[in-house]
């Protein structure tokens, strides 16, 4: 003791790509409704 130092490989870079797919639903159809004056009720 102490143990000998030895080289170890570094942790490779790894991206969380799935995070980019956590997105709001398309809200376009809510806008069209507004343009057409909405549905009377």
């Amino acid at each position: 003791f102490p143990p000998q130092f030895e080289p170890i490989p570094c942790k490779p870079l790894f991206f969380d790509i799935a995070n980019n797919y956590v997105e709001f639903p398309s809200l376009d159809h809510r806008m069209e409704q507004k343009k057409s004056g909405g549905i009377g009720g």
Partner: protein, 169 residues
């Protein structure tokens, strides 16, 4: 105070506001608007989905999972497998995420992307590499560099893993 016609017009305004923040990707500003919408229309599917996304983007994965469970009936017909497994993945309940993703007959690309990350974290590099090769072949988007990087990481760790196995035996 507000009558029903005022409700629908203010709802339209709120959605217009929300869309602006959504397009800008500003989740902090979007969140109060979503809450206002849900106060007026607690069962609005779009608003519920926005709320779920906002919870995940704020890192509130436990809350997001509770939200999914409590709103499952209101969101019937909407496939939430991706959102749910992503929460488990971020909570390091990686095996639960894997089971959920593998329970699907025809996973979409989002789920395949997450599956690759789940396999990587579970140190199943061979399958991870297979999923990435397939994704790279079949996708054209802004994340090609990131995908190549992740594939390289899996390949590197697989070779280290194999070398260690050889040295151990």
């Amino acid at each position: 105070m507000a009558n029903s016609s005022a409700d629908s017009s203010s709802l339209d305004q709120l959605f217009a506001q929300l869309k602006r923040f959504a397009d800008e990707g500003d989740y902090n500003k979007a969140d109060p608007v979503i809450k206002k919408i849900l106060k007026e229309a607690p069962q609005d599917k779009d608003a519920l989905l926005c709320r779920l996304c906002s919870l995940i983007q704020q890192g509130k994965y436990d809350n997001a999972l509770t939200f999914i469970k409590s709103k499952r009936d209101l969101l019937s017909g909407v496939d939430l497998t991706f959102q749910e497994s992503y929460c488990y993945y971020r909570l390091h309940k990686t095996k639960t995420a894997l089971e959920l993703l593998q329970s699907q007959a025809n996973p979409n690309d989002k789920c395949k992307e997450l599956l690759a990350q789940v396999l990587y974290r579970l140190e199943n590099y061979k399958e991870c590499i297979t999923v990435y090769r397939n994704l790279i072949k079949n996708s054209q988007d802004d994340f090609e560099n990131e995908r190549e990087t992740n594939l390289a990481a899996a390949c590197a760790l697989l070779s280290i893993h194999d070398r260690n196995l050889r040295e151990d035996t």
